[in-house]
Symmetry: D2
Subunit: 402 residues, 4 copies
Amino acid sequence: MMEEKEIIEKLLNGEMKLHEIEKYTENIKMSVDIRRKFAETVSNTNLDHLSKYSLSMEEALKRNIENPIGTVQIPVGIAGPLEVYGEHAKGDYYVPLATSEGALVASVNRGCSVIKSACGVTARIIDDKMTRAPVIKTESISEALKIKNWIKDNFSKLKNAAESTTRHGKLVKIDPVVVVGKYVYPRFIYTTGDSMGMNMVTIATETALKILTEETSAHVISLSGNLDVDKKPAAINMIEGRGKTISAEISIPRDIVEKKLKTTPEAIVEVNIAKNLVGSAIAGSMGFNAHYANMIGAIFLATGQDEAHIVEGSLGITLAEVINGDLYFSVTLPDVPIATFGGGTRLETAHECLDIMGVYGTGNVGKFAEIVSGTVLAGELSLLGALAAGHLARAHKDLGRG
Amino acid sequence: MMEEKEIIEKLLNGEMKLHEIEKYTENIKMSVDIRRKFAETVSNTNLDHLSKYSLSMEEALKRNIENPIGTVQIPVGIAGPLEVYGEHAKGDYYVPLATSEGALVASVNRGCSVIKSACGVTARIIDDKMTRAPVIKTESISEALKIKNWIKDNFSKLKNAAESTTRHGKLVKIDPVVVVGKYVYPRFIYTTGDSMGMNMVTIATETALKILTEETSAHVISLSGNLDVDKKPAAINMIEGRGKTISAEISIPRDIVEKKLKTTPEAIVEVNIAKNLVGSAIAGSMGFNAHYANMIGAIFLATGQDEAHIVEGSLGITLAEVINGDLYFSVTLPDVPIATFGGGTRLETAHECLDIMGVYGTGNVGKFAEIVSGTVLAGELSLLGALAAGHLARAHKDLGRG
Amino acid sequence: MMEEKEIIEKLLNGEMKLHEIEKYTENIKMSVDIRRKFAETVSNTNLDHLSKYSLSMEEALKRNIENPIGTVQIPVGIAGPLEVYGEHAKGDYYVPLATSEGALVASVNRGCSVIKSACGVTARIIDDKMTRAPVIKTESISEALKIKNWIKDNFSKLKNAAESTTRHGKLVKIDPVVVVGKYVYPRFIYTTGDSMGMNMVTIATETALKILTEETSAHVISLSGNLDVDKKPAAINMIEGRGKTISAEISIPRDIVEKKLKTTPEAIVEVNIAKNLVGSAIAGSMGFNAHYANMIGAIFLATGQDEAHIVEGSLGITLAEVINGDLYFSVTLPDVPIATFGGGTRLETAHECLDIMGVYGTGNVGKFAEIVSGTVLAGELSLLGALAAGHLARAHKDLGRG
Amino acid sequence: MMEEKEIIEKLLNGEMKLHEIEKYTENIKMSVDIRRKFAETVSNTNLDHLSKYSLSMEEALKRNIENPIGTVQIPVGIAGPLEVYGEHAKGDYYVPLATSEGALVASVNRGCSVIKSACGVTARIIDDKMTRAPVIKTESISEALKIKNWIKDNFSKLKNAAESTTRHGKLVKIDPVVVVGKYVYPRFIYTTGDSMGMNMVTIATETALKILTEETSAHVISLSGNLDVDKKPAAINMIEGRGKTISAEISIPRDIVEKKLKTTPEAIVEVNIAKNLVGSAIAGSMGFNAHYANMIGAIFLATGQDEAHIVEGSLGITLAEVINGDLYFSVTLPDVPIATFGGGTRLETAHECLDIMGVYGTGNVGKFAEIVSGTVLAGELSLLGALAAGHLARAHKDLGRG
């Protein structure tokens, strides 16, 4: 074991690399402290708050982070009760939201209050899958066409290979298999049980591809050919869905809209058409909504989801309609990759946030997905209400933010 | 002041609302504790880790959160040294990355090492702006056309009104002014000095709109008409840019590619074309890259940026080319809204993370933007290298993640 | 029967409608002449050339036109020989191109000459289908989900109903079935034999929907819900294909590129990347090519295809690569709705143009599709060559067009 | 001069090229006849109808076609009277539509009848421009940024150069100037007077680029970098417009909707939302309409516009709203490149079709654009009405088309 001082010196003069510290220290805490001190030294600053964590860095180092120096703290507020009726979630929930954007939790909370007055949202999981789509190169378009057909003809074989790597993952179909010139892009579609499944489908697909490359002349250029599409906004995810495809709806009596949102059903419908449908159409946006990313982001951070998946969760379409004088309102999110165990969900605070909703661990992802859809509806409704009532800038001004 | 027990009872039976606790407690800490205990009570769970924060919740409550119950802890690792040569950043930096996705920091760190061997990346800020685009309704298309022309003819007046609300914000132009039927969508484009500026431009635009509605028959439907486009993926942001438009590039000698990335320049170029350009083209994606969202996400969380803006940071185009046998590689991100003060950057751990790079506070956002572009290049290069070398699934397997 | 003069008077004073003329005339020619004279009268002009047609207006009036006044004449040039090796087309073809855009036929012809020197293009049909996607409304998202599942569970029943209306159409699958709030969008995918099939699938789908509406609470809002997608550019067609999905490729020796196109393989590859891939990516275009629409348009007009389908034929991706110093070049068009009989193909001049390629009538659409893909390659190659050689503006100047 | 037989023999054995015939014949008619006979010979068919043209092939050969063998005849029907009130068009017009798609003219005609009953459409030209956007390569991103700034700083110089090539073209601005890695994409935006202007702006831009390449290190990769965007569907054209940006609107009393369209304002609004807005949003379409391409296509063919520009004319957004029980309906097309002289408009039948509307020649393009927008509204309204009334498939069945 080396002394702290010696390690920092070696880091400074380049004799040691940042990821090698663990080799020379007695325990993880010590290595984290040394690395942070090194960071303090090179930047001539104090990183005291980064060191004030309670989670087990030993565990985090195994699964979640490399070169750790501590943790960031992001404030968590709760909104609720959110009344949700899904196939899994039934009743009132308090939703933890991690954010540094003032007014967001208050806005979602206001939405929850409207929802409560209107006796709850209905939530449904429309679809559930995880995808991986490699890109394969062949010698010619006629070879590419043969590979496309080979994949179709040998689906069972590929399925067996893929599923040999996982207990919970099932290869449902390979669709579409797109051919562009010599390139072939098969989209492997799996169900992944309760896990988010990105890693599972990556390994399963690689194994299936071994069969393909052994039995054909195909050459795998990349295990992902961007037809998955992971962590990037994409029309294919909007159309086909990825992760959980979720929807929530509510019918709100006119007097509640007027009293609680200070506007009318008609005004909200008009904002939805002019902004969410037509405005997004002009802008070439895939987010036909006001701000799904805000709610998705705050729940994802609170519960240890992959922050880069917020990108996918920003897609979706809000609908509003006046029915018999009342407001019908729905949100639909085609692409929400989430889990209730594994990955970042095991981090202590994420675990606790999932516990607040009673959804930590296997068997709970359906319930969680429904709560997420209800939360998105709460926040979306609240903002559209504020825009319709002309309150947005005022809210920002009150917060005096820059 | 009320007793904890009484407050929790009132919360439970609905006599008190979650956001009212602060009215009945002596200090913020107490209200946070009570609210968390309430959450523990309703969910029958223990939220101990959420309570282990060191940041000032008094301050957070003013600007960043409502209904707080504590904080989540997200592990922070550092990657570096990242050698960057921009107009502001010059030299070596250590980059804090907050994530729960195992392998990400290691991957960026590997990229930094390749960059170091190749004597650094060049970074540039291509453009810098913040936008707000309301939707206005008129009586008819001829009225809409008149309003469009009025906006053009009265730009100075609108500019004066907008700029009366801010010291640093400048209304640069209103462009485009899109007309669809009776609706008019003017896109207000501002420079906002060192702040991210979303709030600034919201207030400024609202003030300008008052002039418009007083002097014309136009009716503001919504202060945002989704042509901004905020927190949603959108072609207009890809084309016109939003926030910082940043780019970074590097030329890497062939032997370094072979030794450090275990692949060839040609293989990386082919992955880039087949996956990032062609694959994304088929998929209808706006992310012509492998995983910008990962790096953007991890830096945003570490430094207190708005997590929903990760959506915008996922856009962009990676280019790779073989020049004289060596690898030329660049990343371009049209839409990265960031700041070095205000908003979430003031949170204690975010402040510290910005300090590690020496970019906290005003006057530093240019330097920060350049470091961000270099970090994105590091991570993108590393993943494309791994894909080209066929290492992706192996990395995932080693981590044994689900 | 009425006199010409009387009819024109009645048309002028509104007593007769334009489509009623046929009721009062002895034959179609007469009605066409009268209608044209009426048009001459109201516009005070001479429409002599419109009357100089040889096609049978009697037949056209049954299937192709209403309120006819004559025909437009569009010049037809031929390009070729185009050497194509597909599964159906084998050998040399002369391709008729109807256009008024000077230089287009010459450009395609130049491409054919390069192709000939390089011993022909390879062509393949990657996929073949026609789609119709209605939009259905339900009472709630839970009902919408039930309808989605009902459609899945009752596929055979829907298939039988759909196929009862047609001899050649087969309902292959209904996929995807997208749910957004209360709306359900099932995409009916058919094979349609040799016909283009739009009309066939419209009638088949309507019949299938009758079953759906009889057995469920679903309400058909519109027989097309724009997920088909007919005559509009759409990501779903890019991804899933529609009509014929076709591809053609060629390998061109370096010396031929240099001699015939006055440029290098490298320069063409660079234009393709910078313009067709990256430029289109920035622009948010679905045409990752230079000008497919030109060739598709000119063939469509010559052969009586539906001109509005040129929109779909504009989609697709061009690839170029230097392999062993030579140029590899391919075009892929995911969405080319064409036919060799029915619709406009029966018009006399269209019939003749199809005859030039030996593809009129049933059993020939595969051959025709392959020739189309080769023609697109010829024109695309020629323009990219001209751009790479810096010749575009010169060509335009020589034509002296405005 | 050579004998027909000899020429055909030389063509057959490859001693003569198709485009060389004119060199060996006395006049154009003869060369056209020989080329057609050659086509008849190689395809063993009769091309009699192709020879039945009245237009001057001498003139066509100068500007519109190469290797001519005759003309195709496409039936023209007229719809009307279309009552339009624009800034240029005022009153009733008969619109020539060239198509082989049965039911289209009838459908537009029905729309005209509804419009007439409702006292006409209002039409407006929202914007008018033509664009050319080259792609330029530099040595590095810092060079690219310098070129971007150079373009901004030297706008006057570039404007003078560009405008030196044209009497009518004016370079309005160069915007945006997009940088991606080393590539720079400046979008040159012109007004082009009455011409469509594609050729004009191509030559002007090439001349401006000469200044750029002389005074900087920039290298022009391609005169078009696909940011124009010409003849391809593109978000940038949807946002910024290209050619004429046009809009038309109408308010239709409820009883007319019910009587003439056999449906209700509410049903049309619902079809518009479910299909044109939401359906297109899911599908990733840029056509938020039912079938603009049909009307645009039929007018373009009748009047000699460039058929490949139908692609651009397919973009746009239809809006429908119930106001006081009546139907408000509008169409907006951002990207309609048209002209009333030059190009294909000079062809005899195109000239005549323009004459029917009184818009041939300079000074008329505004009037023509307004009539086009009214025609699109007529056809769009008619189809949405038919869909709302459930009549689409029936119309197709009556025509018995395949």
